[in-house]
């Protein structure tokens, strides 16, 4: 089997998607919290979020909260489906090897 979804199959982007997956549909997470969960630097995280946003897998909302700029990221329906397909591909690799 070829590599599963190349956009998701990158360590930082994979962690971003895995961090967003357990949240309720459309629920955003703040950038700083995502940074803590993923364990990436600010610039690195921002670049990978932009890649996922270009693919339509995440949505980025920027606003002001308590007089401070705030960036929040949520998983889109397309992103959720892509991630589920990606996980299914990984499982099929293991399943095919075990069959």
């Amino acid at each position: 089997m070829d590599l599963p979804n190349a956009i998701i199959h990158q360590p930082v982007r994979l962690k971003i998607m895995a961090a967003l997956k357990p949240l309720p549909q459309g629920e955003p997470v703040e950038f700083v919290r995502l940074k803590a969960i993923v364990g990436a630097t600010e610039g690195n995280l921002g670049a990978h979020i932009a890649t996922l946003e270009d693919a339509g897998y995440v949505a980025v909302q920027k606003d002001f909260h308590a007089n401070r700029p705030r960036t929040r990221v949520s998983m889109t329906t397309l992103g959720r489906r892509a991630f589920e397909d990606y996980v299914a591909d990984l499982r099929s690799i293991i399943g095919a090897a075990g069959a």
Binding site: D2, L3, H9, L14, G26, E27, A36, I37
Partner: protein, 183 residues
């Protein structure tokens, strides 16, 4: 180059680890304001029970106010995808209230501090169950801390139990709520 079985398995483990971490952080963030709220209620309720034991209305008033405030917090923090009221919250709350009423009918507490120790232990049980099922170590730590502080106060400081629970129990819940927010 295609993925090997080991690489696929390792990636799935990484995904599961990150998902659990994110789910725990989300749960901690949702629990935090409730802990702070009930910490304040414990501090006020046990202080008044200690200073004015004849004021029997204190706990019903505080618990009713706290429950309403708790529903309001839950409503404000509801996920963006939830538009309607989830009846399961109200049903869960009703089940707990009915359980406590039934329990006290069968096994009525003989002293005020028995009743005062029962509720923290019940809350500790809920945190233990949540921590076990969510694999959330911070909830487990909170559960152990609440139970240990309550039992210590009950057995070692019965004369000052309410004061102990006001300061250590109430303060502990508030600090616990702040601790959960730090994740």
């Amino acid at each position: 180059m295609p993925l090997t079985t080991n690489e696929a398995a390792q990636t799935l483990r990484d995904i599961a680890r990150t998902e659990r971490r994110s789910a725990n952080a989300y749960g901690y963030r949702a629990s935090s304001p409730h802990l702070i709220l009930w910490g304040l209620i414990w501090a006020a309720g046990y202080s008044l029970s200690y200073a004015r034991p004849q004021w029997g209305f204190v706990w019903p008033v505080l618990v009713s106010g706290g429950s309403i405030a708790g529903f309001w917090i839950g409503w404000r923090m509801r996920p963006v995808s939830k538009t309607g009221f989830d009846w399961r919250f109200a049903a869960t709350f009703a089940a707990i209230v009915l359980f406590v009423i039934a329990l006290f009918a069968v096994l009525p507490p003989h002293t005020d501090i028995q009743a005062g120790a029962f509720f923290p232990l019940l809350i500790s049980l809920f945190y233990a169950i949540s921590g076990i099922w969510m694999k959330a170590n911070r909830l487990l730590a909170l559960s152990v801390a609440i139970a240990a502080l309550t039992l210590f106060g009950f057995f070692e400081l019965p004369a000052q139990f309410e004061l102990w629970m006001a300061v250590v129990g109430g303060g502990g819940l508030i600090l616990g709520g702040i601790w959960l927010r730090s994740v």
